[in-house]
């Protein structure tokens, strides 16, 4: 599989909203307070309104991520990003992340599959891209390194 860097996306998270036990697992919603993205072809900021990560902890210990964010490029284009992801790892590693400690991202599996939608002509190439991302969960919020699948 050949890939190339699309962007690095850093987001900051607000206080999680713990929905609790739902039929498919334990649900938690994490609104985003903002963020920024930087790549060879686009850079800008994350809009705080309407951006968040909807988390579902499954019975098998795997965390399902349903991330949605609106990105605004430096030249004013709005890009809607949605990505499904998975996060799991050894219990002690996951506990350290939950405590807000800095953990080597190689110690756990945190991968997502972002898709993008935009109406802006300069960024229409994003509409037709399949991308994959590796995540690094920090206390202030995750950092995603997003690669375009070539």
């Amino acid at each position: 599989m050949n890939t190339r860097l699309l962007m690095t996306l850093r987001v900051t998270v607000a206080t999680p909203q713990s929905i609790g036990a739902v039929p498919h697992g334990t649900r938690r919603t994490v609104p985003l307070m903002g963020g920024e993205f930087e790549g060879p072809r686009l850079h800008g900021t994350v809009l705080p309104q309407g951006s968040g990560d909807w988390l579902l902890l499954r019975a098998d210990g795997v965390l399902e991520l349903d991330f949605r964010a609106t990105l605004r490029t430096e030249d004013g284009a709005l890009i809607s990003m949605r990505s499904f992801g998975l996060r799991h790892g050894p219990p002690d590693v996951m506990a350290a992340i939950a405590r807000g400690e800095v953990v080597d991202p190689a110690a756990y599996y945190f991968r997502t599959t972002p898709r993008f939608e935009t109406a802006h002509p300069a960024y229409k190439f994003l509409n037709h891209l399949v991308t994959v991302a590796s995540g690094d969960r920090r206390a202030e919020g995750p950092i995603y390194t997003i690669h375009e699948v070539l």
Partner: protein, 133 residues
């Protein structure tokens, strides 16, 4: 990104059901009546009953939404879905498969994300699927 081969999946499709122009584009349903998959860790056949719901927002560009059931050679059933893109002008045909199974032997599939590279063949599409490491 690092990846490793998961399987090569061949799908056999029946006559396309063209739903027509919908608000999101032209919708066609490609029923899947069979197929096979082969990889180091799993192999078997594709059960009939699945399909790929394909929306074409513009000429030559397709948004894919597939669901099928795989049956391994040792009898496990695996629910597989993918979304993806086919852009013929740029020879770009990529998918994001996901798997669900209750079989302990194949539970690793529940915990991985994957990417498929699609190829068009006369007898149906072939997807070369790699696990994202």
């Amino acid at each position: 990104m690092n990846a490793r081969p998961l399987m090569r999946l061949r799908l056999t499709t029946a006559a396309t059901e063209v739903i027509g122009a919908t608000p999101r584009g032209t919708l066609s349903v490609f029923p899947i009546i069979g197929g096979s998959f082969e990889g180091e860790r799993l192999r078997g056949t594709v059960l009939g009953g699945g399909a790929d719901w394909v929306t074409a927002p513009s000429e030559g560009t397709f948004e894919l939404d597939l669901r099928v059931t795989l049956e391994t050679d040792d009898g496990a059933l695996i629910h597989m879905t993918f979304t993806g893109v086919r852009d013929d002008a740029n020879h770009y045909f990529r998918t994001l498969p996901r798997f669900e199974t209750a079989a302990p032997k194949y539970a690793f599939l529940n915990r991985l994300l994957a990417v498929g590279i699609g190829e068009l063949h006369a007898d149906g599409p072939v997807h070369v699927i790699e696990e994202i490491l």
